[in-house]
Amino acid sequence: MSNLVERNGRTAGLRRRLGRSVWAVAEAMAAPRDPGDYVDMFHPLRRGADLRARVVEVTPEAGDAVTVVLRPGGSWTGHVPGQYVRVGLDVDGVRRWRSYSLTSPPSAPGGTISITAKPVADGLVSAHLAQELRVGDLVHLGQACGDFVLPDPPPGKALFVTGGSGITPVMGMLRSGIDSLQDVVLVHSEGAADDVIFGAELRALAGDGRIRLVERHTDRTGRLAVEELRSLVPDLAEREVWACGPSGLLDVLEDHWAAAGLSDCLHTERFRTTLAAPGEGGTVRFTTSGTSVDSDGATPILDAGEAAGVLMPSGCRMGICFSCVLPLREGSVRDLRTGEVTTASPGDGVLVQTCVSAAAGTCDIDH
């Protein structure tokens, strides 16, 4: 028996070494490219490739929202309900990354995952998701992230306070954890009954007595106030709360729970961080060197960095040679040639030409 185990172990070790040798030969054959670049042409979803997913289904939801079912590649490590995932889509030829809540349970049939998005005003990517995405398309994917999740074991009494598309992460939690949740109250705000995303499914859960659903249709009743929440949910203080929705709603809740000394019981999730409004110049932060410099809207970031003693990569200084390109991690820069503003969200790494870009508000440059 122990002999067998040993032999199996040795075989596995041998196979690993063999695999490494084969890959080393493949690397020599493909130089200076990565062999993976060639394999990806035929097996883009293989384990070890950059994470991608194939679109399996695109389903419209209420309120112009859309659910996209994806089959992720072999490198996908799974998710916990309530988490979100970064999806990279080529919109008009430009790779753009956005985060969407996962609405499927982790063990969905066929190893698929689903995300649900609601188009936002001037939302380039969500519009693409809703209108352009076709079954069979490949999209780029990050691993699931976020700590807006249910603990294990789940709390005895849970309250979800959601608004609009804020229901999406909570739907993921309900779909997978409903059996282990004993006492659930969901207070959901939406403009009108017809626009409630997953409205039918939520009402069915309520009809079966699995959750207590309080729908508020804000077109008629106005925004939810904390006092109202207290009367809707009398045992508020006994519940662990997950809230997701518009910033206004979350701010009010956070203030209230903080004042009650119960901040630990409130978990919130925001879809958008407040971005510095593009303006005339701003602070350039070089995140690696730790240097910050105030710069006007006419000074190239390259010049501003050099003036502050940062060792900057540079080249032609006229926007041609691309030797000065650095990743913009967050904030906005203005192209001095066109006046066009480029904005990066946290997690982005938009490469900008520092010799022809000026700060347009606070911006973080990875250098």
């Binding site: 030969v25 020599a28 200076p32 030829g93 080249g315 032609c316 040679c321 691309f322 938009v350 490469l351």
Partner: protein, 390 residues
């Protein structure tokens, strides 16, 4: 040719400063239109070219596994030659120019691309994008004018070394990728003095080039031949031939860009305080196109639109064809010469210059004059010959 500033008839002498700025404004407009309309179709184009190139390369390498059979050798070598040309020209050169950076795809980006060539991308980008594209055709600043081994302009000083430059040029054409690597390293200049030879920067860059070359040689002349088993030798000759074909082709295309007759060169001092309009004008007059059909444009990496490329080095190459008529209209409107011609004509023009300038200026004319003088004028001619020696 002579630097533009010394010519009897300055080709831009008729332009007022405001004309030059207007040319700049109109070119900015052309650029703006392309930048605004870049989109999914362009992205699909470059991804398609990359896809075709990689499949062609894989297929050709697979066929060469049986290169012992002559038909397989020919098909595989032809395919690999085309694949290598596509990789260097339409893909590598243009990606490293940042033409596709707007797609924000880290796999097709100027900062991450490495090409199938002896010169490391980083060094090539410096010497090509920064130096050549900034100082295009400025004598003493743009080393592309003769690559440091040739004299391609009357205003470059003649040294006896240049007598053999047709030979240097031919050797350079055959081993062009190594020529580029040596050029990017500024090997000639750096090896000359001990101080430069031993500078840590030069040594580091030298090691970088050697590493790159080792990888290239290992791939083309060891791994693929060995995998071919009994076809070892024939695969070796096939890859060597493909590299030679690629070298000769790219060398010819590059020569057509700035060496043919009609292309202007510029004095070192002439670019001091140059405005954007003046920079544009220098690019217009300092480059030459190659006429031809679609296959020609793709195989030259659209450097057949060298003029458009030099005006807008970072616009996607597939758009040069579309803007060429507008650029040409600008030349016509301002009475400037748009230098273009079919490949054989332009290559011949560049070569004839290499041959002519291997000798000092006017040497051939003087020689002919003397010879013909000697023959036709009889004693008087001989007298002149004697006089000139005294």
């Amino acid at each position: 040719m002579t630097v533009m500033q010394k010519k009897d008839q300055n080709p831009v002498g008729h332009l007022m400063p405001e004309d030059v700025e207007e040319i700049g404004r109109r070119l900015d407009e052309i650029r703006h239109d392309v930048v605004e309309s870049r989109g999914a179709e362009d992205a699909a184009y470059i991804r398609n070219v990359i896809d075709v190139q990689r499949k062609l390369e894989l297929g050709s390498r697979a066929v060469l596994l049986a290169s012992l059979f002559p038909p397989a050798w020919f098909v595989g070598t032809a395919g690999l030659s085309v694949a290598k040309i596509l990789e260097n020209m339409e893909i590598g050169h243009n990606v490293m120019h940042g033409q596709w950076d707007w797609m924000r795809d880290p796999k097709i980006h100027s900062t991450t691309w490495e090409w199938d060539n002896a010169s490391p991308a980083e060094q090539w980008k410096h010497s090509h994008n920064e130096l050549h594209h900034t100082y295009t055709n400025v004598i003493g600043r743009d080393n592309d004018l003769g690559y440091g081994i040739m004299r391609v302009d009357e205003d470059q000083r003649w040294y006896p070394f240049y007598v053999a430059q047709p030979l240097w040029n031919f050797v350079n054409a055959c081993f062009f990728e190594y020529g580029i690597a040596a050029y990017d390293l500024e090997l000639g200049k750096n090896l000359r003095s001990k101080k430069r030879r031993s500078s840590p920067d030069f040594k580091a860059r030298g090691r970088q080039v050697l590493r790159k070359i080792r990888g290239q040689v290992l791939k083309d002349y060891v791994v693929h031949p060995v995998l071919s088993g009994p076809s070892f030798l024939s695969t070796l000759t096939a890859t060597a031939t493909a590299n030679l074909v690629r070298n000769l082709w790219t060398h010819s295309v590059i020569m057509c860009g700035h060496f043919p007759e009609g292309v202007e060169t510029f004095e070192r001092r002439s670019i001091e305080g140059e405005t954007r309009g003046e920079w544009y004008l220098r690019q217009m007059l300092g480059s030459a196109n190659i006429s031809g059909g679609k296959p020609m444009h793709i195989m030259t990496g659209n450097l057949s639109y060298q003029i458009e490329h030099h005006l807008f080095p970072d616009l996607p190459s597939n758009r040069y064809q579309e803007i060429a008529p507008k650029v040409r209209e600008l030349f016509d409107d301002y009475g400037l010469t748009y230098t273009t011609g079919p490949l054989p004509k332009q290559v011949a023009s560049a070569w004839s210059k290499v041959v002519r300038l291997s000798l000092p200026n006017g040497f051939t004319e003087r020689l002919l004059e003397r010879l013909t003088g000697a023959v036709t004028d009889g004693p008087a001619g001989r007298l002149r010959l004697v006089q000139s020696h005294t």
